[in-house]
């Protein structure tokens, strides 16, 4: 399986701090995507990085991809309480996305 594995499983920080989540995967990919899930809801797409890209930004999000190490990281800067959610990386190859188990982020006011 090409399933991604996020690290850490859970992360607790204070508002204003940065949050970094990592994702490792096993096989070749076309792109890697990060999704967010609020408790009990569906997943929402955050950002996509293609296999030939190394870094991408979107607002307070920064994603890096190292295909030689088969790893990616998601950085959320200046976190807010509203960022509290689970974050999943997903690897794309051909027609499907394969998701990791997620990182639960808790941002305390």
């Amino acid at each position: 399986s090409q399933q991604g594995e996020e690290d850490p499983q859970a992360l607790s920080i204070q508002e204003g701090e940065n949050a970094t989540m990592n994702c490792s995967y096993k096989t070749s990919i076309n792109n890697l995507q990060w999704y967010r899930q609020n408790s009990g809801r569906g997943l929402v797409h955050l950002i996509l990085i293609r296999s030939n890209e190394r870094e991408k930004h979107s607002g307070r999000l920064r994603v890096t991809l190292d295909t030689s190490k088969k790893s990616s990281s998601l950085l959320i800067t200046a976190s807010r309480a509203a960022d509290t959610a689970s974050y999943f990386c997903a690897t794309a190859l051909y027609s499907t996305l394969t998701f990791g188990k997620g990182t639960m982020l808790l941002v305390s006011p």
Partner: protein, 115 residues
């Protein structure tokens, strides 16, 4: 905005019942997916469909079947529900994913409890 609608948010079914979970998308997407999500296991792909009447098994198809008679609708069927199928089920749709770099749009999820 893309909308993926799952017909039931919460269901309680008895062991052995036939269960239908319905999903409709409004963006003319070719691909549709059914995932289940369980604590500690993340999202696991049950089935996906890349065209009407076409289906492919995902990682955990056992105990499930699917139907896609129309492009906008993708149904997940539990032929004989069992307690180990108690889970949250997520439907999703997308244009082509791999090289095109499109993303998946998810429904809000269906919480199924089998008693």
């Amino acid at each position: 905005d893309v909308k993926v609608t799952q017909s039931s948010r919460y269901l309680v079914k008895r062991t052995g019942e036939k269960v239908f979970l319905e999903c409709v998308q409004d963006m003319d997407h070719e691909n549709m997916f059914w995932y289940r999500q369980d604590p500690g296991l993340g999202l696991r792909l049950i089935y996906f469909s890349y065209d009407v009447k076409m289906k492919e098994k995902g990682d955990i198809p056992e105990g499930y079947s699917v139907s896609r008679e129309k492009k906008e609708r993708f149904s997940l069927i539990l032929e004989s529900a069992s307690t180990n199928q108690t889970s949250m089920y997520l439907c999703a749709s997308s244009l082509s994913i791999g090289r095109s770099g499109n993303t998946i749009y998810f429904g809000e999820g269906s919480w199924l409890t089998v008693v």
